[in-house]
């Protein structure tokens, strides 16, 4: 049972945001398809319209561009999500701008006028392509500036146990690797220390602002914290109360400023990924009493360590339990 994205309000909100630019990317895909088919089927009319029918190389260039447009269409229309496919169009735009610029230099009069129209249209299209591509890239990197992350996992324990374990915030660093320590100072308040790059740390004080036993805990950093952040964890009984669905949402100062960037690093390079890893380890700690370690992944589950796998043979140095 893996960690999956929640179908909560936050998830829906994010999905809708994404859908806008994804729809635009699909539209660009259809546009490419139309353009590609036109260039291949009606190349001569196209070269008359654009004013390059005087050239012998123009039909070849147009045909090549047509084939290329079909490639863009495939990149944007075939995958389930268009992703970074729009960048192929940006690359194509640059080629087209260069080719049109080249054609423009040698022409005068009506042909020059037509090519200037083409150039202007191309510039506009390039702007749209660039916008869609940049949005897709930012989304891929999880840098849309929302400063939010969410995740969920099913735990084979009653809500009382899952809630009780989480409510003791001092347990959190056992499975949230970006935390160095959490110390409970009174009923509602706790002192958090998170690891930051370069061996530094970021500290803040947090308070519980809503506490519904066995159902929900909501907390936030107190005013004046260098790192404004908040979180909520919900516990829902399943399997007749023997298991619990745990859903977590975290929110923190949006990245952008220097401090914001530092905070983002403190919460992990990709907060969404981080929270998935955290919840896998939370499940392990509560269900098995330990974090699963193998020779290839000696520090326990994390997507980063999965990329840098050690060979599956014992480590040379001794590690403490």
């Amino acid at each position: 049972m893996g960690v999956r994205s929640a179908t909560d309000a936050l998830g829906i909100e994010r999905a809708t945001q994404d859908r806008g630019t994804e729809g635009l990317a699909r539209l660009l895909g259809w546009f490419s398809l139309g353009l590609g088919v036109t260039a291949l089927a009606a190349g001569s009319r196209l070269s008359r319209m654009t004013g390059v029918d005087d050239s012998r190389t123009a039909p070849v260039v147009l045909r090549a561009a047509g084939v290329r447009e079909l490639g863009h269409a495939a990149a944007l229309l075939v995958p389930r999500r268009p992703g970074l496919g729009a960048w192929t169009r940006v690359a194509g735009d640059i080629m087209d701008l260069a080719a049109t610029g080249q054609a423009l230099r040698h022409r005068r009069g009506d042909r020059q006028r037509r090519l200037t129209y083409v150039m202007t249209a191309l510039a506009g299209i390039t702007a749209v392509d660039l916008y869609v591509s940049v949005r897709a890239t930012l989304r891929r990197r999880g840098m849309t500036g929302t400063g939010r992350a969410y995740g969920s996992v099913t735990i084979n324990r009653a809500p009382e146990q899952a809630y009780g374990f989480w409510h003791d915030f001092e347990n959190l660093p056992r499975f949230m690797y970006h935390l160095q320590s959490v110390r409970i100072t009174d009923d509602r308040r706790s002192q958090w220390i998170a690891k930051a790059p370069g061996g530094r740390s970021v500290q803040w004080q947090a308070e519980i602002i809503e506490d519904r036993p066995n159902q929900l805990i909501r907390w936030r950093s107190v005013d004046g914290a260098r790192v404004p952040n908040s979180g909520v964890v919900r516990f829902t009984p399943v399997a007749g109360g023997k298991a619990t669905e745990v859903r977590v949402e975290l929110e923190y100062a949006p990245p952008g400023r220097v401090l914001g960037a530092l905070v983002a690093r403190a919460f992990g390079e990709n907060p969404q990924q981080q929270i998935s890893d955290d919840l896998r380890r939370f499940k392990q700690v509560i269900e098995t009493g330990e974090i699963t370690r193998s020779d290839g992944t000696p520090d326990g589950p994390s997507v980063r360590s999965q990329v840098k796998q050690r060979p599956a043979r014992p480590l040379a140095t001794h590690r403490s339990v």
Binding site: E287, G289, T292, R293, S294, P314
Partner: protein, 391 residues
Amino acid sequence: MKANCWIAPNRVAVEEVPDPQILNPRDAVVRVTSSAICGSDLHLLDGFVPTMKRGDILGHEFMGEIVELGEGVRDGLRVGDRVVVGFPIACGGCSSCQRGLYSVCENSNPNAAMAELAMGHTPAGIFGYSHMMGGYAGGQAQYVRVPYADVGALKITDDLPDEQVLFLSDVLPTGYMAAELCDIKPGDTVAVWGAGPVGQFAAASAYLLGAGSVIVIDRFPYRLLMARDRVGAETINYEETDVLDTLRELTAGRGPDACIDAVGMEGHHASAALHAYDRAKQAVKAETDRPHALREAILSCRNGGTISAIGAYGGFIDKFPMGSFMNRSLTMRSGQAHVQRYMRPLLERIRNGEIDPSFIITHTMRLEDAPQGYDIFKNKQEECVKVVLKP
């Protein structure tokens, strides 16, 4: 210590590596007294299982003596105990483990995200079986670390020799589960594709579970002979006769009540052209697995019968006869063996003399000779069925 390591496709080597250590409270370190080469190790050797790294220690069938224990091992294990270890690593605490589905333990694969990419959800971690399955060092070594030892290690208290209990680690429970998945009614006819160790045990288990007739299909006469003489099965050599026709004839037209695929991803076909077709697609990665046995099992099975797919598959197959499967009301059941569920009852059966699994052993070699053992096993030389390695 010495350990048998994966180097590259078609290359393994015994290397000097660091000794394993306790990493977690519920770990044990076992000094291996016997380990075996499994048919599924050949899929690793041949390079058909992704996410192998140079230097990975192989081996998921092993037993030995506990030499070190974490302080959190709960189940009465002691240093000095003789144990057999099941190949799936299972925590015992997740809902899958508590339902007895140990090979899909939800916690034992630290590289779960990798497996989720390929399979949607992750199965359990497995010793010495790729990084997608956890990146655990295997047991073809002098020592091995056993996580969740209180769930995975079965104590052997009597003086049964290694050869009789070693296969509780994998192939005996795997063969037994293959037969159990068939839901055998007294007198049923069961057909088994593959006369390797799992196929032999599946056939023997089908009889234990009440089958009236068991038919084993393979192309190596010496393996078919073993199925006939040691298990009492009827046999079909698919290179000599047409399997579908023969099965129809043996069952007076209905087909076997249950069909077990104990072959998996590297099957062969009697027709060189059909074999080449799938082999070529596998080579260019247009499909990862060659499902000849599975296709034939589906077409052969009687209407409303059961397919038990126990041979190892890794990824994707082509030309799955879905039309036959759907229109004839077949059922397919599958899974890596939930070894921990079967170890104790099968140990009982061994003690009672109902089955002596040691009959499959054809070769006993030193750990140092593991590369040669892989070679003999892979190429079916010297009438090889099972290689046991002694560190």
